[in-house]
């Protein structure tokens, strides 16, 4: 893989990842396209620009780590890891089939280069903080990135972890909330409102950065600011659009867990040409 900070190049990679997400979930006839599409720019910038990692050496001791706590968005992670060279691109469309390494939710038994098996919402932040604490004991300079869904942070464990992270000053951890305003049953504001969200994280002692999660420049800038923030962990509240990049999926609760039909795949791929 070729790392890059070039915004045009990153935008091109992001588009390719979106195409994979549509094709994978279309082929699988199940899965979660919406929350995968909303996370594309963040995942792209992490893997191609920000994170220290080597696909040829996945367990490299001083690597940065990424945990997809909202494990149902596995397609975005699989597409990124495949494009980086961790896993085959050709078999991405075997997503969710018996025997596929591309399991419904990330599973380290099938892809050992994944950092964690996820799928039960609410746990990734604790895991990331544990990794961050372990790295600090070793004097390592690596960083841990963990992506949370906005619906996911309704889980109490997230706030247990938030308290821990600030209290123990785990400043090598950066959480990202994919704030797409939608969850499974509908709009977050109708299910369990999170606002004032930035205030909540600030009150819990975190360094908070609010940004447009689809602006590659904004995402790059936010990760740089997070790395410079010392003494407290950082959370990026990334304002995003669920289904981003496919007009009929954007902001449509239906595409949380409903894949595109064959015709919809074709339409979507035209939009993402």
């Amino acid at each position: 893989m070729q790392k890059t900070s070039n915004v045009q190049e990153l935008a091109g990679i992001a588009k390719q990842i979106r195409r994979h997400i549509v094709e994978m979930t279309g082929a699988a006839k199940s899965g979660h396209p919406g929350g995968s599409l909303s996370a594309v720019e963040i995942v792209t910038v992490l893997y191609w620009d920000v994170m220290k990692h080597e696909p040829a050496n996945p367990k490299m001791a001083d690597r940065d780590r990424f945990i997809l706590s909202k494990g149902h968005a596995a397609p975005v992670l699989y597409a990124a890891m495949a494009e980086c060279g961790y896993t085959p691109v050709e078999t991405l469309t075997t997503l969710r089939q018996l025997g596929s390494i591309y399991q419904g939710h990330p599973d380290v038994r099938f892809i050992p280069s994944l950092e964690a098996s996820t799928g039960s919402l609410g746990q990734g932040l604790s895991l990331a903080l544990g990794i961050g604490c372990g790295m600090k004991l070793d004097g390592a300079t690596s960083r841990v990135y963990v992506m949370l869904g906005d619906g996911e942070i309704q889980e109490g464990q997230i706030w247990e972890a938030a308290m821990f992270g600030a209290f123990h000053k785990v400043d090598n951890v950066c959480a990202i909330v994919d704030y797409n305003k939608l969850q499974l049953d509908g709009f977050v504001k109708d299910i369990m409102e999170l606002e004032p969200l930035a205030d909540k994280w600030r009150a819990f002692g975190w360094h908070v950065i609010e940004l447009d999660g689809h602006s590659i420049e904004a995402v790059q800038k936010a990760f740089a600011e997070a790395a410079a923030a010392k003494g407290k962990p950082t959370v990026l509240i990334a304002n995003t659009v669920k289904g981003k990049g496919v007009s009929f999926m954007e902001n449509n609760p239906k595409y949380h867990g409903v894949p595109p039909t064959k015709e919809e795949v074709e339409l979507a791929l035209k939009e993402l040409a």
């Binding site: 599973d107 380290v108 038994r109 950092e115 964690a116 098996s117 799928g119 039960s120 609410g122 746990q123 604790s126 895991l127 990331a128 903080l129 544990g130 990794i131 961050g132 604490c133 372990g134 790295m135 004991l137 070793d138 109490g156 464990q157 247990e160 972890a161 308290m163 821990f164 209290f167 123990h168």
Partner: protein, 322 residues
């Protein structure tokens, strides 16, 4: 144990105390040992470790779910984490984390649940863990240990630390009678035959192992020869030793300080049903929550004592002969 061993059952340290000291000891030798606690370190006895190695001790506050997954994260950086709280809390509030974030990816986490059983006494049922062995056995790939005394716990902590995979260790609050000499060489893959016997086998774990020893003495006075086996490792279970005992004695009693329907008894019954079925009787907490009281008073009232074990042995023998 040698056939002629005499058990004096002198009071020794509580298994939680043995855990606290052992993990602090290990911490001296191995910088990978880290400990997490949820505002109970003075009770779980991780306070010894916390005092000696504050930088490797993670106070998590009263937040067990976070503690379990945080421990998993520490393990993922090559540390050997022991997470500890009352068993009633870490195994219930942390169970889903143990399932998805520890057992499923087989993370190298060690969980120590203290204050197990009803012998915690005065605090009452909200703090009593009577379902933890069952919960732990419901985690594929977990090794589940229930040491009966100080020497066992000390050795078990060391063994668990270097076992590659998740482990649950069950510890008690009250002082436990000494069964094993301090220098005993444990083989945790085996259930330990403490007393030879031919008429019935008494299988104990935790505090109930000492009650089985006492029961065998009571039965001996009646001319009944009772074998006593201590099951330290609840999972994986040493089926061979148990099946041999069932075959040779033809009657079994299993005794534990745990819900009787879902603990060691049910595991032994399942193992024997598919190998060497024999009449079996079960001693444990009977489908109820206990109450406040002295530890001794509670063990008496809830029939977790030698006389109850001996009575169960007589019933099992009667069924064998009937």
């Amino acid at each position: 144990m040698p056939a002629n061993t005499k058990y004096e059952l002198k009071m020794g340290a509580a298994t939680r105390e043995a855990f606290g000291k052992a993990v602090a000891e290990l911490g001296k030798e191995d910088p990978r040992i880290v400990v997490c606690d949820a505002d109970l370190s003075k009770s779980t006895m991780t306070t010894y470790f916390a005092k000696e190695f504050p930088e490797r001790f993670f106070e998590c506050g009263i937040a067990e779910a976070n503690m379990v997954a945080l421990g998993a994260g520490l393990a993922m950086t090559g540390k050997i984490p022991f997470v500890s709280s009352f068993s009633a809390f870490v195994m219930t509030k942390g169970f889903e984390q143990l399932r998805t974030t520890v057992a499923y990816p087989q993370v190298n986490l060690k969980v120590v649940g203290t204050h197990s059983g009803i012998s915690i006494g005065e605090d009452g049922p909200s703090q009593m863990s009577i379902e933890d062995l069952s919960l732990a056995c419901n985690l594929p790939g977990f090794t589940v240990l229930c040491p009966a005394d100080e020497a066992t716990m000390k050795a078990a902590i060391r063994w668990a630390a270097y076992l590659d995979g998740p482990v649950f260790l069950r510890a008690g609050r009250v002082k436990a009678p000494v069964i094993y000499p301090a220098d005993y060489e444990f083989d945790f893959s085996k259930a330990v035959q403490l007393i030879e016997g031919t008429d019935v086998t008494l299988v104990g774990t935790g505090l109930l192992t000492a009650e089985c020893i006492k029961a065998s003495e009571e039965l001996a006075a009646e001319g009944i020869s009772a074998r006593v086996i201590d099951v330290i490792c609840i999972k994986p279970l040493d089926v061979e030793t148990l099946a041999k005992a069932a075959k040779e004695t033809g009657a079994m009693v299993v005794a534990e300080e745990h819900l009787v329907d879902t603990g060691l008894g049910s595991r032994v019954a399942q193992a024997l049903a598919s190998t060497t079925p024999a009449p079996m009787e079960f001693i444990g907490v009977e489908n109820c929550y206990a109450e406040s009281g002295t530890p001794d008073g509670l063990l008496d009232k809830y029939n977790l004592r030698a006389p109850a074990v001996a009575a169960a042995a007589r019933r099992a023998i009667a069924r064998k002969n009937g």
